[in-house]
């Protein structure tokens, strides 16, 4: 294992975050704060509590997940797509590094970024609404698993994308709708029965449900199911990445 390489990739990617602090950190924090102001305070004040939790506090886990998922996917996809786009990927391919080092470096940096943003948002949220975290260890575990698995997913998109449009396509047109429709702003028990069933096909529901459980102890689906879903997704992403490196798909001719 080339540890120096992992460190070099990780620090290089983190350097990009610090260089673009406004875009990388301030912007997601600001947009989430706006959600709190609009949904939590302005509209939320007219909505009665959901499952015993004030509406403002209820949406916190969903909002964090929204940011974590979109940020993980965009950061990790950009991290590997940009060298491909520039042509600097030649160095990565000609370096004495295995697939594992490359993935750990890029995905580790992307997951660190989204994890940091999630924690900053959590801190920001605590200033707007009264927060309660019943299972803090599980909360961190769900957060970490989500950051890592979606960064892996983003990495795949970064390897697959042929242009910037494709790079934006998945976070904007797939992740965001799935998160919005996955119960980030409501409990699925508030939906008509037919839509409850439809929502069960949305994988993001399981993430948000498990994550919200770690806060307030109530969930739309059993926590064990949520955990299994995340692990299956994580393994599927690892499998795809293994295949990409093995075949050199879009990397080598």
């Amino acid at each position: 294992m080339n540890l120096h390489a992992i460190r070099a990739i990780y620090l290089f990617e983190m350097g990009r975050t610090f260089r673009t602090l406004a875009q990388s950190v301030v912007s997601p924090v600001l947009s989430t704060s706006l959600y709190f102001v609009v949904f939590g305070s302005a509209i939320g004040s007219r909505i009665e509590s959901v499952e015993g939790v004030s509406y403002g506090a209820f949406i916190v886990p969903g909002l964090i997940m929204l940011t974590v998922l979109t940020q993980s996917v965009s950061n990790a996809s950009f991290g590997i797509y940009f060298p491909r786009f520039l042509g600097t990927v030649y160095e990565l391919l000609s370096a004495p590094v295995g697939h594992a080092e490359i993935v750990i470096g890029y995905v580790g940096a992307a997951a660190t970024k989204s994890m940091s943003i999630a924690l900053i948002i959590l801190a920001t949220a605590s200033m707007f609404v009264p927060l309660r975290i019943e299972h803090p260890i599980w909360m961190l575990a769900f957060l970490l698993l989500s950051c890592v698995s979606f960064s892996l997913f983003g990495f795949i998109i970064g390897l697959w994308a042929k242009d910037f449009e494709q790079l934006q396509f998945v976070p904007l047109l797939i992740i965001t709708p799935l998160v919005f429709l996955g119960g980030s702003f409501y409990s699925i028990s508030m939906l008509p029965p037919v839509w409850q069933t439809v929502t069960l096909f949305n994988p993001v529901l399981y993430l948000i449900s498990g994550f919200r459980w770690s806060f307030y102890g109530s969930a739309d689906v059993p926590v064990a199911v949520s955990l299994v879903c995340i692990f299956v997704f994580l393994l599927a992403c690892l499998g795809v990445i293994w295949w990409v490196f093995k075949t050199g798909y879009r990397l080598k001719s």
Partner: protein, 308 residues
Amino acid sequence: MPAILSIDRLSKTYASGFQALREVSLDIEQGEILALLGPNGAGKTTLISIVCGIVTPSAGRVTVGGHDVIDDFRAARRLIGLVPQELVLEPFETPMTTARFSRGLFGHARDDARIEAVLQELSLWDKRDAQNRELSGGMRRRVLIAKALSHEPAVLFLDEPSAGVDVELRKEMWAIVERLRARGVTIILTTHYIEEAEAIADRIAVINKGELLLVEDKATLMKRLGRKHLRIELQTPCPAIPEALAGYALQRSEDGTSLSYTYDTQGERTGITGLLNDVRAAGLTLRDVQTEQSSLEDIFVDLVRDRG
């Protein structure tokens, strides 16, 4: 000298069906400078890319320092530095951060003193904190060299190092290559500038349409394939080539003041003595005689035309 790079019957056919390399075999000794010469699309970059791990070979085997580039890629690649043809750099990074990244990527601990020495040597130290996008083309080329040198390679590949650079920078590049050679670095450079190969290489490999046409010591190549031109300047212009000299395939200058004769230095008889005797017998008076060695370019053009 042991071969540091050994290429054995290497072939590459791309998915499109294009056969870029056909059974290329080549051994490169430690410390030598080999110029891989060939026209565009000859297979030079494909050859380098396979050695460096960027392109997967269809058949054949490559070892660097005795390590197979596929089975033992970590050990093999640690020895290799690559300076690509295109000026590809992260635009928002600096020479310092990009070189530091390369060093780490190739498995070396961070060593800013080493990076400083490399940047100083390449006259980049003053620009160490400038963004790569602000640098001129020549400087970017040097940053790419700095990246490759930051991890202290034993074998350095320079893919078209002087493509698109001005004469001054090209000379500077040659000076860098000379310094690296003095340190024992093996250098393989691809070029289609004959002048470059002639100026810095020890050996020359000529490749065309994926086939290695020859690999020869530069001086031997020039000697073996070289032809000389003998130019005879006359005291008084001759209106036409005299009958007696018709057998020599001479060329007369437009003003008739000189005649030139091309001969093979390796031929059993060059024909010079006979020619000079016959010139005198034809009543022409010599003013001066010059000989000129044919350039590598002439040799190259002949090779590619004859065998390509």
